[in-house]
Amino acid sequence: MNCQSCTERMAELSDARLDETTAASMREHLDGCPDCRREYDSLRRTLEALDSLPAASPSHRLRARVAGDIETEKLTLRRHAGWASSIRAAAGTRPDRGFRWAPTILQALAACALIALGFAAGERTATQRQLVDLRARVDTMGQLFEQSVLQKRATGDRLETILTAATARKPDERVIDGLINSMAFDTSVNVRLNALNALYQHADQDVVRAAVLACLPREANPLVQVAMIDFLVAARHRDAAPELRKLISDDKADADVRESARRAIEQL
């Protein structure tokens, strides 16, 4: 082996990636060539330093974002499959209407519960008038109808609605309420996550922060919970501390959620 071929493979020798024959041949050359030995020692030290650099870790939000992408792609896949099956099943039976309405009614009840929670969690900070208005709207039949219509639409369409709302230049209260409702009630993780993301630009509003805090303990999906915790930290919502402490001490809560809550407490 000559100096040039030895030099080019020094990095591989240092981390034992060479086959034994080549490695033996290189070691033999290094033993008899002081220049190559010096070169090898200095490169090995550099590589050791490079390999010992601590690995950076991404934030929890990355997991939520990629999970959202996967959910979106799954929906797209289902929608494409749905076109074919809908044509085949054009004369198929209709689902039972009573069953289809049950989730809507449950959601309406949950809406009232959410607003009550919102009051409890945000009474010190949320604007009283906004919360009263919000509850009144949820209590009306009009809101029930809106909820039912929203839930009957395909998930992809609901997502599009959220994305449109997120880009609205001057969103009014109704748009913000719609985003809060979607974050609280939508059956799709992706829609809930996107609604939450869309609410970031309204994080300065008391009602928005109170709603996210109220939704946190009732949210079933850890990804959404972590995203909600990130939101509360970004919004510097100090009133979130008691709820976060409850999560930290809850043995049944997801490990990532508890870790996020612990970090959030430190940051708040």
Partner: protein, 190 residues
């Protein structure tokens, strides 16, 4: 009790290609850490690294149909990562990458004891600075060649050059890093 071995990456990716998109979640869990670490060192920017990591997984979903039966998942992923990083560099300013060592180490450092020697911290900071002084191409080939899950043949495939050329480029990049690193060690502290 005998437990079955987890499916290899290649098998999971084939399942994703065939429509089982939940398998992408498992691939994310396995690979997002090293991929993010590679991109953080390459870009010197945590936020950009996180964005690019997400885009890589988006592209894996989008282009899943192009994944080949005989392929290596890791090589394919880093091939996409290279493209995504190039897009990022093209979009961003041509100014040298600003490396903030404290930013890159922020999370990892939390696991170490508070009495970790300052000398070691300084050493890491110097190396980050030395990495930041390499050309982007040098940094890329060097970091790829240090990924244990990639063979040199795969690195060459990702860089779209011969194995010999990849070896020479990696070696030159390593020498360049060493020179910057040793020079920085001799510089007085500012």
């Amino acid at each position: 009790m005998e437990t079955s071995a987890p499916p290899p990456d290649h098998e999971l990716m084939l399942a994703v290609r065939d429509g089982d998109l939940d398998c992408m979640g498992e691939l994310f869990e396995r690979h997002h850490g090293p991929l993010f670490g590679y991109l953080a060192k390459l870009t010197g920017d945590r936020t950009a690294a996180e964005d690019i990591t997400q885009i890589v997984f988006q592209r894996m979903l989008k282009y899943r149909h192009t994944y080949r039966d005989e392929g290596s998942f890791t090589a394919w992923m880093y091939h996409l990562a290279r493209r995504c990083a190039s897009d990022h560099f093209r979009r961003s300013s041509p100014a040298p990458v600003a490396v903030d060592p404290s930013e890159l180490d922020r999370h990892a450092d939390e696991s170490r004891g508070a009495d970790e020697s300052a000398a070691r911290q300084d050493d890491h900071a110097l190396l980050h600075r030395a990495l930041g002084r390499l050309d982007r191409d040098e940094r890329e080939v060097l970091l790829l060649s240090r990924l244990q899950e990639l063979s040199f043949a795969e690195v060459a495939g990702i860089l779209e050059c011969s194995v010999g050329a990849a070896r020479v480029r990696a070696h030159r990049a390593l020498r360049s890093l060493r020179d910057h690193y040793f020079r920085l060690q001799k510089e007085p502290l500012t």
